[in-house]
Symmetry: C2
Subunit: 238 residues, 2 copies
């Protein structure tokens, strides 16, 4: 099972805001056997949103979007999703009653009413944090951009997701530059074609190091490969 | 002038590593009048890299890539870029002499020699941190994924970039939920069509707040709009 994430927001692309949803979603999906395979960060522009959603929802099992479902003029995700699916954007009775419970009548301004407008045919995704819901339209999950709210909505999305094989990973760190282990890693990768072997350099306390990560759904194979990896790594232990 | 960034790396998509290059690049580009308009995070897969590079380099003035130019088997960016441009990947004499200066002959292993392989016709981009260079192929800048190295390479890329109008921004924070200012913001946006008005909710010390950001290349207009924004915001100051 494969998924894509669309991060919608000029504030991410301008460098103003550091995205925190990508890594959270990736790890959350891993745990239920869904692999995040592509992420796109796009501007708050209707045409771009429509095109991106329509391409990715046909390419992946699931698509998640974050951002642009709030009450302000620059929140255009819900309308764009409605257009992508060629349905109307309309007041959703359930969303309305959720907001009516949260706000006094006098507080239900035009801006807040905007958050009750959901594409026709969509199912709501609960927002335990600030009430205004996200929604699910076929295989597309539309969520808020604020990390705490997005994380709450994910729990509501959980029941709609069918996981696949869970990919296990093993990580081994060694204090040597990755170029020292590269040749032997290549041989190891050639031997274990069903294991994804990643090599990620780091520096710590002014020493060069390498994180070696093995990923596979086959736990036995992973264990076997790990033993061989440890033999390679042992040569560099001081 | 518009640019796209391609973040190449399974470690970002698996959630293992938090990307730090997006916001750095966005801010760095802003300062020279180039707007980061799209970002894609993709897997270390040759076909995906080729397709993504070839699409984006025709769409944007500049494309930057990060990741996958190291010495290990999972570093396939340089080869993929060569294929995207339909040229050979070959030992680059200048890259070779840089590495020969840095490593003893006996240390120039097969793995390190891989970092001298550059697409034919590319210009090197200097790496002040760990020597092995990035490169520029037409409007595509291929850089390392490690933030410190990527940042060093950007300085080397600077001379190849032609900036455009610099977009100025003004930011005003107010302690009120964004739905309270939304209706007036809509009117302000309608009045100032050439200013991008963004509204970003936050929470701080258990209070709801909103960051309002005005962005435009027209400084005078920005100043005018800011005065009107401050009037809106003043109503919520306690």
């Amino acid at each position: 099972m494969k998924a894509a994430l669309i991060i919608i927001g000029n504030e991410i692309l301008s460098g103003r805001t550091q995205d925190k949803n990508l890594s959270y979603l990736a790890n959350w999906l891993n745990e239920i056997g869904i692999q995040l395979s592509e992420v796109r960060v796009i501007r708050d522009e209707e045409e771009v949103i429509i095109e991106t959603v329509n391409y990715l929802r046909k390419t992946y099992d699931y698509v998640f979007t974050t951002g642009g479902i709030g009450p302000t003029h620059d929140d255009i995700t819900s309308l764009s999703i409605a257009k992508a699916f060629n349905v109307d954007l309309e007041i959703n009775d359930k969303a309305l009653s959720i907001l009516k419970e949260y706000y006094k009548d006098s507080e239900l301004t035009d801006a807040r009413m905007k958050m009750t407008m959901i594409p026709k045919g969509a199912e709501l995704v609960e927002n335990p944090v600030s009430k205004a819901p996200g929604f699910k339209m076929e295989n597309v999950f539309v969520m808020a951009g604020i990390p705490s709210i997005m994380q709450g909505m994910l729990e509501g999305a959980r029941k709609h997701l069918k996981g696949g094989d869970i990919i296990k990973s093993v990580s081994v760190d060694v204090f040597t530059p990755e170029s020292n282990v590269a040749d032997e890693l290549t041989k190891l990768q050639d031997k274990y074609k069903n294991i994804e072997i990643g090599s990620y350099p780091f520096t710590k306390e002014n020493r060069f190091g390498t994180s070696l990560v093995l990923r596979s759904k086959n736990e036995q194979l992973l264990e076997e490969c790990k033993l061989e990896l440890l033999k390679i790594v042992d040569k560099f232990k001081s």
